[in-house]
Structure formats: C-alpha cells, structure tokens
Symmetry: C2
Subunit: 164 residues, 2 copies
DNA sequence: TATTGTTATACTCTATAACTATA
DNA sequence: TATAGTTATAGAGTATAACAATA
C-alpha cells in the first residue's frame, strides 16, 4: 500500500495528463474528433461488435457511444447491421473507407509520439503502457462500487484544528 | 526508439485513461468541479502565484484559467491581490476556507485511490508517477512546435492498395 | 417486466477572438 | 506596441432521463 503523499501526486498527474491528450487531439482531422477516433480504433482492434460492447470498451455511457457511432456512420466509416440473433441490437463494422481513415489516424498519432518520445526507450514506453493498463483495470474492475467516503467531518463548515 | 505498435497502444491508453479521470471526478463536491480542484491543488503545492503562472501549470489557456479562478474566488477559497510590481497582474492566494476545501479534496481522492489501488506496491505507484511526469515533460517541453505531418498521402480520397 | 439503443437536455472543459488596463 | 487578464462565443465530451422497439 502506497502512502498518502503518493496518492496525491498520482491524482495530480492524472489531472495533468489531459494536456497530453489535448495535444494528441490537435493532430486529428477536423471531421474526426477524439470520440470518433476511439470508435474506429476499437473496432479495428477488436473487430465487429454491438453497441453495448463498444460502450463498455469506451467506458462511457451508451448514450455517448450512440452519438459517436452516429457521427462515424454518417461519414461512411462504419456500417450498422441488424443483429439476426436480437433485433434490438446493431452490429458495428468498419467499412473500407473506415479502414483507410483508421490507417491515417494511426499514421498521425504514431508520428507525433515518435517525435515527442524520441528519447524514450522501448522498455520505458512498454512500462508506461503496462502501468496505465493496470491502472484502468484497478478502476474498471470495481465499477459501480458506490464508494464510501471517510466520514466527511462536516462537509460544509469544516474547521480542521491543525494538521491532524 | 519504440515501435509503431507500441505507440498505437500508448495512444489507446491515453485515450482510455479518461475513464479513470471521470471516476475521480465523481467523488468531488458538487460545487467544486475538477477545474476548481486543480486550481486549489496547484496553489496549495506551489504557493501564491500570478494568473499566467497558474495557466502554465494547468497547461490550459489563460482564458480557461480565468474562469476556474473566478469560480473558486466567488466561493471564497482564494483571494486575488493586486501585484505591487505590475498593476496588470493579480496574485492568487489560498484562504483558510480554501485550505479546508483542499484538505477535504485530498482526503477524498486519497481514500478513493487507496481503495482502488489497494494491491499496488509503493514502487508500482512511484513508477507510474515517474513515467507520467516524464510523459508530460516530453510533450510540454516542445509546446508550440507546429508538428509536421508525414506526407498525408491524400487526406481525403486515400485508397491504400493493401497493407503497405 | 427487462434490455438495447436513440434522442433531448444540461453541464464541464477548452480554445479563439475581442476587449480593457497597464507596461 | 506588447502584455496580463477578462468576457463572449462556440465546439467537444459526458451523464441523466425519457422514449421506442424488442426480448
């Protein structure tokens, strides 16, 4: 178990990594925002799937997934086929144009990362991927756990004596 | 230099870490969204500073910083003092109420992380912090580098023959 | 009755541009 | 003229709730 100071620092880094994400987002084509890129990436990586499965992989609400999917479908990058096994569901599939788009996205992000992380070793990058993957797993595995707060002390008129 | 596949995977992890951030955000008090929490955290960590310095630490535009600061100032958590050396500037300072708020935030995030990362060793957490810090540095150090795309092939009617 | 997916609404965060005040 | 900061506006991402169709 790590110390409190470490957790505070990790929280800070998590907050600050948004700047890196925004930098990555700036190289995306104007008609393909981050949400669309994530849909294409996951479909390319995991193959055809249903909306609910994609929402789970995106780790966002299905209403959000629906919007992103509608955006990429409107541009012809994916198709929504009816699921023969369940008429409520729709199977998502990349089109050839979607594959091209995905390839273009991959080229851009790879180029940016290669430029920014030019002095990183293969092992450094691998270790960061490994730890971030594990971090997501540590959070995702207990999704819907309501979380118990540690006796909020007062929440509104807190007046901590000193540094307990 | 890492391989292309690794960069693609890192890009995916960066995209997906947003789910962890949102999880963290859900434990914040209703009147203290993530932007406000970041302002309080940075002021608590680095001490009094000017708007421009805070914007740099937040890695967002100063207009965004101004809004976040106005939000926390309106709640009495910080004060904006005139800078005697430059009448255009304002020095930001945490109030006692702001310190209390910050302490409450720290308690909540620490508790959540301690729960989620219960099986992480001190070394694992430290390594993740170290790599994320370095990642931010690798991006931040070349900020405003316009980035050169790798000959976009065509950008609109791309029709890759196969798997080049 | 429960589940899959869509849509309407509202909120947060962000960047750009126009503006004020001061250097 | 250039810089520090504010405000207005617009765009992207997300969640909640209400709804339709099907299981």
């Amino acid at each position: 178990m790590a110390e409190r100071t470490q957790f505070e620092e990790l929280a800070r880094q998590l907050s600050a990594v948004g700047a890196v994400k925004r930098d990555m987002g700036r190289i995306l084509p104007p008609d393909c925002p981050a949400g669309s890129a994530a849909v294409l990436t996951l479909l390319g990586r995991h193959g055809d799937m249903r909306m609910s499965k994609l929402a789970e992989l995106l780790a966002v609400d299905m209403s959000v997934t629906s919007r992103h999917v509608a955006h990429v479908a409107a541009r012809g990058w994916i198709e929504r086929h009816p699921d023969p096994a369940d008429k409520r569901s729709r199977i998502l599939r990349l089109t050839p144009a979607g594959l091209d788009r995905l390839d273009e996205l991959s080229r851009r992000t790879t180029h940016l990362l290669a430029e920014r992380l030019a002095d990183w070793t293969d092992e450094d990058v691998g270790e960061l991927i490994r730890l971030m993957t594990r971090l997501r797993a540590s959070f995702g595995d207990c999704r819907s756990a309501p979380l118990r707060l540690p006796a909020p002390v007062s929440e509104e008129t807190t007046r901590t004596p000193a540094s307990t």
